[in-house]
């Protein structure tokens, strides 16, 4: 187990290293206007050059790359130049991450509870009205861009229920609509996935055997099907939890939630290069970390994978 985890960790580190390098190279392609700050138009070419030089952007690329790695090793994410001039990126993030994580985790729990319930309901009514009804829900959510249905939820959700349209951290009622909006696609994904899993699983011989032995449907569901269903779930859960940090771009901007969701958009639209770079790095690292944790967690839960990947089976 430990050996597998270490190997997997090493693999993740290599991937991380390559992603970091790739991001660095991509960043060199960004328009340099993003480094001058607010007074870009008033600067003389000489001043511009001085700024670039000060930031080390005129050094040879390998020196830049080395500095980039060293900076990261120190945990330094750089300083914002436009969004909040001269404020360290870390400080900006510290103010925003709690909101995104709070909403993200809330939405994750909601989408798990509601999604799994919906999935079970669909599998039990396979081919009947409710299965079809929920399937249409899933199709709609998957096919239509979030920008469209989220807009209508805000528009009519507030006017029909009287819930507040903008987020206010002290007003619990203002949390409801954003939370529901955020969990809609998760509910759809969980429901569809669990339905498919259960339909496949219920056709397997060991379930037939359990049935033949006289096990109740409920016991079969709980003891066999759902238990097995949690193994693949464990694979993607860590990544989902980590990604709550990145927040939801649509929902946060619609309800004016001061979270991470809009930050990357703002940074890009206002051309704050150091902020863009820091955010891209964070998101990519989160992805790699999430996959790593997911694989390790899955190996703990599913002995087959552990053995297969360790090569101890034969």
């Amino acid at each position: 187990m430990l050996k597998y985890s270490l190997r997997r960790l090493l693999h993740s580190l290599v991937t991380l290293f390559m992603v970091l390098t790739l991001v660095f190279l991509l960043m060199r392609l960004l328009p340099v206007e993003g480094y001058y700050g607010e007074r870009a138009d008033k600067l003389t070419p000489a001043q511009k050059e001085a700024i670039l030089r000060k930031m080390g952007l005129l050094d040879p690329w390998y020196v830049q790359l080395r500095n980039f790695y060293l900076q990261l090793l120190r945990g330094d994410l750089g300083v914002s130049v436009i969004y909040r001039a001269n404020v360290p990126v870390k400080e900006i993030l510290a103010a925003k991450i709690p909101y995104s994580v709070a909403f993200g985790l809330g939405a994750l729990v909601l989408s798990l509870v509601a999604g799994l319930a919906m999935g079970i309901h669909m599998a039990q009514n396979k081919g009947l009205f409710w299965d079809k009804f929920w399937t249409w829900y899933v199709v709609f959510i998957n096919a239509v861009p979030g920008a469209v249905y989220l807009l209508f939820i805000q528009l009519y959700g507030t006017s029909i229920t009287g819930l507040p349209m903008l987020f206010d951290r002290y007003n619990v009622r203002s949390w409801i609509l954003p939370l529901v909006s955020m969990s809609l696609s998760g509910i759809a994904a969980n429901a569809m996935w669990l339905r498919r899993f259960m339909v496949d699983e219920l056709n397997k011989d060991y379930i037939r055997l359990a049935r033949a032995k006289g096990m109740s449907s409920r016991a079969i569901m709980v003891k066999h099907v759902l238990r097995n269903a949690f193994v693949p779930l464990a694979n993607y859960l860590p990544a989902s939890i980590l990604f709550t940090i990145s927040g939801s771009i649509y929902v946060e901007s619609l309800y004016s939630i001061p979270g991470m969701g809009g930050l990357l958009v703002t940074a890009i639209s206002r051309q704050d290069n150091p902020l863009v770079q820091a955010l891209v790095l964070i998101y990519s690292s989160l992805g790699i970390l999430g996959l790593f944790l997911g694989d390790v967690l899955m190996a703990i839960l599913d002995p087959r994978i552990r053995l297969e990947k360790q090569g101890g089976a034969r």
């Binding site: 991509l26 920008a147 649509y250 990357l264 998101y283 990519s284």
Partner: protein
């Protein structure tokens, strides 16, 4: 166990009675394993059984056809022409739908009906170009990845690296670096879309590459390129059709997303994303919500239809559903 008596009885039976020769029927023997099963015929049959899908197919075919012939129909207006109110001499702003302007005008007096179809055309065009690229490039990479074993490890690593960066970020970065335009939009989406297709094709190829007929081809010395084209790709045509159908709502969604965050097409090119954004700006005034409503409905119908069609085709093309 047999009793002694039973044994006796059996012993007493003449040998001929124990066994009788079955009649040999060469006709019947020839027919074993015979079936008049035809893959495409069955696929179409199963697809046609799905009434919703058939309806949506007809709907989409007519809609796409209409979108492309609409500008040539009589009495159509120019989507970017700003109409002037003859009474006031000002722009005909936010004119509600009537006989003249079927879907009304927008906040600067452009005809929403014309803009809507022009926008649909733009968005579909992007989606189709990206879809075709996804097929061509994704299949190419996927086929090599799945079939050329020396490259397998390298491509797997490359995939792991690229797929670790969220699509949203890649899209935004490319759109940011290149500045908004029609080409940028296409390049950005082409840069990300093929990844999923490549992995998909690769997984399919891994499933079928070791089937016996591929071994037979290798025995005959068939070069890898022809094995891919003749033995593997024909089996993938159906899944490719499905992927394209499913990629259309995906691409439209990304277009809406990029527009939403301000990296979309320039305003003088109507697209579904642009129209939706224009509608969003005026949505707080109930009287003007038609500007949001019309694009949203058309966009939803298109995305849902292609999504359903893709899935229906996927079901129909799965041989397990053919019996």
């Amino acid at each position: 166990m047999m009793t002694a008596k039973e044994k006796e009885v059996i012993q007493a039976i003449e040998e001929q009675e124990l066994f009788t020769f079955a009649q040999y029927d060469p006709e019947a023997a020839e027919r074993t394993g015979y079936s008049d099963y035809s893959y495409w015929r069955s696929t179409i049959r199963v697809f046609l059984r799905n009434k919703t899908a058939v309806f949506l197919l007809i709907l989409m075919t007519s809609l796409v056809a209409f979108t492309f012939i609409q500008p040539y129909l009589p009495g159509q207006k120019d989507p970017i022409k700003i109409h002037i109110d003859p009474n006031t001499g000002l722009q005909l702003r936010n004119h509600p739908p009537d006989k003249e302007f079927w879907f009304g005008t927008n906040s600067i007096g452009q005809d929403l009906w014309a803009r809507l179809w022009s926008g649909t055309r733009t968005s579909l065009l992007i989606a189709i170009i990206v879809g075709i690229w996804e097929i061509v490039f994704g299949t190419f990479v996927g086929a090599i990845w799945g079939y050329v074993r020396p490259l397998e490890a390298f491509l797997t690593e490359a995939y792991n690296v690229i797929s670790n960066i969220p699509t949203t970020i890649i899209l935004m970065l490319i759109a940011y670096i290149l500045r908004p335009s029609f080409q940028t939009m296409i390049i950005a989406m082409c840069a990300t879309g093929w990844l999923g297709m490549a992995r998909f094709v690769r997984n399919q190829i891994v499933i079928i590459r070791d089937r016996e007929y591929n071994l037979a081809s290798r025995c005959l010395g068939t070069p890898t390129g022809r094995i891919i084209v003749k033995n593997l790709l024909p089996y993938l045509v159906s899944v490719m059709v499905m992927r394209v159908a499913l990629s259309i709502p995906g691409t439209i969604g990304w277009e809406v997303f990029l527009t939403y965050i301000g990296l979309g097409l320039p305003l003088n090119i109507p697209s579904l994303g642009n129209l939706l954004n224009e509608g969003r700006r005026v949505m707080m005034a109930p009287a003007l919500r038609y500007q949001l409503f019309f694009p949203a409905v058309v966009l939803s119908v298109i995305t849902v239809s292609f999504y359903v069609l893709g899935n229906a085709f996927a079901d129909a093309s799965d041989p397990r559903n053919h019996f």
